[in-house]
């Protein structure tokens, strides 16, 4: 008998098959269980939401007074019933996210007796829960548990590690900046611009260690690139010399481009030879950043030289040249080009329009 025929014959024999019935019963039970699960979840969620809304309403006015320093924390603690402490931590964290200075300090004081709950959660096996604990501790528990947040930088989960990094990357915790910079390598997979913004949020204190990273050619290129971007956001002037040296010697496109951006922000006329040399690069990204840096630093007498870059094969380079020329003497060099036709004229006209806006 053929294979399909055998299957059909086998299936036909299953008139009252225990296996099929068992399968059906299982699926039916599964369906009913899932339906019940959805219903139970709905009921539970509604109940929980109602309960917490009521609890929050009960605390709300007093909590505001406590955070404002008008009432003692003990009054609020007296209102927290057993089982409500975790929710208080959540509510206060929510407030703390948006507060600074003494109000933030008072938030931390309010939850002080309940912090052991977060400490325990910080070693939970679920990374999501660990991250929440680290996040909350970063907001309201740094005074007592800074070490725990710092240790989380080495958590096996990248997400927990980044949560710790973000929690620590604040001017108030600037003392930890060298440790954050030292751990940068573990976040190599993350977006460089994002990392640079997080580091820059620490403030000027982080600049010296970042300069060290940028200058150190034993560190990974990506980490050095992040350091250059962060220094650029911080406008750290002493970084200009390092950027010029790295731009001159490195062969990595992203790193050179980042150094050129840093030179644009922090460089001076002494760096012009390095920048001018890179304008002739075969790489369009490097050319673009070099032309952009020239637009800011170039000697006015040599600005007309930028007109040639309007016709660069890469529109990105042309646009940077256009923007630079539009800023120079009210776009005097650009207007005749914009009056013409073709791609170069479009770029020139666009640059003039942007400058007017």
């Amino acid at each position: 008998m053929s294979a399909p025929g055998s299957i059909a014959a086998w299936l036909s024999r299953l008139d009252a098959p225990a296996a099929l019935l068992a399968g059906l019963a299982f699926l039916l039970a599964l369906t009913l269980a899932l339906a019940a699960l959805a219903g139970i979840l709905r009921a539970r969620n509604a109940l929980v939401a109602r309960r917490w809304t009521a609890v929050e309403r009960r605390w709300h006015d007093l909590l505001l007074h406590v955070i404002a320093g008008e009432r003692p924390e003990a009054e609020l603690h007296a209102m927290v019933r057993p089982g409500e402490a975790r929710y208080l931590l959540e509510v206060v964290s929510r407030f703390a996210r948006r507060l600074r200075g003494p109000e933030r300090t008072r938030c931390a004081a309010v939850v002080m007796p309940y912090l052991p709950l977060l400490v325990a959660q910080a070693s939970h096996r679920d990374p999501g829960l660990r991250a929440r604990a680290v996040h909350a501790l970063g907001l309201i528990g740094m005074e007592r548990h800074a070490d725990l947040v710092l240790d989380a930088l080495d958590d096996p989960s990248d997400f927990v590690g980044m949560t710790a990094m973000r929690a620590l990357a604040r001017p108030a915790h600037a003392a930890h900046a060298p440790r954050l910079v030292a751990r940068l390598d573990r976040f190599e997979a993350w977006d460089g611009g994002f990392l640079a913004s997080v580091l820059a949020a620490i403030g000027p204190t982080v600049s010296p260690p970042l300069c060290g990273v940028l200058a150190d050619d034993r560190r990974g290129t990506r980490v050095r690139w992040v350091a250059a971007e962060a220094l650029c956001k911080l406008h750290h002037l002493p970084a200009g010399e390092i950027a010029a040296s790295v731009a001159e010697t490195s062969s990595n496109r992203d790193l050179v481009a980042a150094c050129l951006r840093l030179l644009e922000a922090t460089g001076h006329s002494g760096h012009l030879p390095v920048i001018r040399a890179l304008v002739a690069s075969a790489d369009e990204v490097i050319r673009q950043q070099a032309v952009r840096a020239l637009g800011t630093l170039e000697d006015p007498a040599r600005m007309p030289g930028l007109v040639a870059h309007l016709a660069d094969p890469s529109p990105w380079v042309g646009m940077e040249a256009g923007r630079a020329l539009a800023r120079f003497e009210g776009g005097r060099l650009l207007s005749p080009v914009a009056a013409g036709r073709g791609a170069t004229a479009t770029i020139a006209a666009q640059a003039l329009m942007e400058a007017r806006a």
Partner: protein, 468 residues
């Protein structure tokens, strides 16, 4: 003859077992993932991301063809998104109605100059406008060339590292961009991310934002709510966890501009340009041996109006399946090729054999089972048991999708909506599934005949939204 009948029945049985198995696996993975994901989301502070200035700029590419009725509200809604740095590029794809006029009056457009940043083939650009009121709003007026062509035109003028592909009638939630950008922050090698698309029919919409979520009254739209739950929360999330994302909905997806430009932009010779783009990205990047990631993210939400008549739903489903078939045939070289990893060995074969060929197998199955029954090749109890099995399996998957929604995002807050969704899960196998199979079958045939038409969908508009 009998051999053929038995063979067909065996294939149909195998198909049902396999597709049920795949759905169960992806749903199981989604169940395990979504709870963790929802927990993790509570740590993410979108406002913090925004205030840090740590997010890359985005261009919203909004292709519009004869959208005079909704375009102004749609753009107004886009202007209120909570994201620090974004541009809106409306690409008026040769509209024959007053789309441009409406935009011009509403946003005070003036002629502007904008240089292209990439060379991509697209129909001629006639004029470029920029809003005096909102400098981040641009309008490209071009000769009609269909959606993919409009997207290419937008992409050619895109100046940001990321762009958001969307439809003109898509309503993005205010925090949708700050949510969908996260995979790009967490992994620098992310080239594409898709968000969830939800059905706006029945919901209250004010100022381009869904303010009250309700189930639609229309039965067809209700079925689609359930389908979208299954497709996005169970299907796409499950495949994403397996690194097998082959579709990012054209209604809402975020892409790295450079990666898309490097592969030549959107394909204009298919109606499944959204899926084609994702498959081609996979193929090219794998061929180049480049590390990359394409993911589905379940929390950024785009709302869309679903077809509410049999005709428009049939047209949409026929087109979707035609697009799927075109893409599957075009990239059949990926099938069972180990170099494409799980994509080539699991995801692609699944979409090829179970999704693309599914309607043929299903429709033939109904007929051949009936013939087999008449000829006594299968017993009546077995036949009944089989159909009951298929019905219960479908209902189980729908229930699981409803449970997924309950354990994560809970958008439908009324108890009656939950009951109605469960009822839909029970009703779906009786008629709706079969008519869907027929529409998809027509799509398969249409792809074979080389049809390229899009068809039109009459819009009822959003409840609560004032007329333009």
């Amino acid at each position: 003859m009998m051999f053929l009948l038995d063979a067909v029945n065996a294939i149909v049985l195998g198909y049902f077992v396999l597709i049920g198995l795949v759905y169960l696996i992806t749903t199981g993975i989604a169940l395990a993932t979504l709870r963790r994901y929802a927990r993790r989301l509570r740590t993410v502070d979108a406002e913090d991301l925004i205030s840090l200035g740590a997010v890359p700029p985005i261009t919203l590419l909004v292709p519009a063809h004869n959208e005079e009725a909704t375009i102004v509200q749609a753009v107004r809604a886009l202007l209120t998104l909570r994201y620090p740095d974004y541009e809106i590029l409306v690409i008026n794809d040769g509209s024959t109605d007053a789309t441009t006029d409406r935009l011009q009056h509403a946003f005070d457009l003036e002629p502007a100059v904008r240089a292209p940043t990439a060379r991509l083939p697209h129909a001629e650009i006639l004029r470029i406008w920029r809003s005096r009121q909102h400098p981040g709003l641009w309008v490209l007026d071009k000769v009609n060339g269909r959606k993919a062509d409009a997207m290419n035109a937008g992409l050619a003028f895109c100046r940001t590292p990321l762009f958001c592909a969307m439809d003109a009638d898509t309503l993005l939630e205010r925090d949708a961009l700050s949510r969908i950008v996260r995979p790009f922050l967490e992994r620098a090698d992310t080239v594409g991310a898709g968000g969830i698309v939800r059905i706006a029919n029945g919901c209250t919409v004010r100022d381009g934002q869904v303010t009250e979520v309700k189930l639609p009254k229309n039965l067809l739209a209700r079925f689609q709510v359930l389908e979208y739950f299954r497709a996005f929360l169970a299907g796409r999330l499950g495949w994403s966890v397996l690194n097998g994302t082959l579709i990012i909905s054209g209604a809402f997806g975020l892409f790295r501009r450079r990666a898309v430009v490097d592969i030549g932009g959107f394909a204009t010779d298919t109606v499944g340009e959204d899926m084609e783009l994702v498959v081609r990205l996979h193929r090219r990047l794998r061929d180049l041996g480049q590390g990359y990631r394409i993911v589905f993210v379940p929390d950024p939400v785009a709302w869309t109006e679903a077809p509410h008549t049999m005709r428009s739903l049939g047209t949409q489903r026929e087109r979707w399946h035609r697009g799927l078939t075109q893409v599957m045939i075009r990239h059949r070289g990926m099938l069972f090729r180990p170099r494409y990893g799980i994509l080539g060995m699991v995801a692609y074969p699944y979409f090829f054999f179970l999704e693309m060929l599914g309607p043929i197998i299903e429709l033939i199955g109904y007929g051949s089972f009936a013939i087999a029954l008449v000829l006594g090749r299968v017993s009546v109890p077995f036949m009944l048991a089989f159909f009951f099995f298929a019905f219960v399996l479908g209902a189980a998957l729908s229930m699981a999708a409803i449970a997924l929604e309950e354990m994560s995002f809970r958008r439908y807050t009324r108890f009656s909506d939950l009951g109605a969704l469960m009822l839909m899960a029970a009703l779906e196998p009786f008629g709706y599934r079969q008519i869907n199979a027929y529409w998809r079958f027509r799509g398969l045939v249409g792809a074979g005949l080389g049809r390229m038409a899009w068809g039109t969908m009459p819009r009822a508009g959003f409840a609560g939204e004032p007329a333009a």
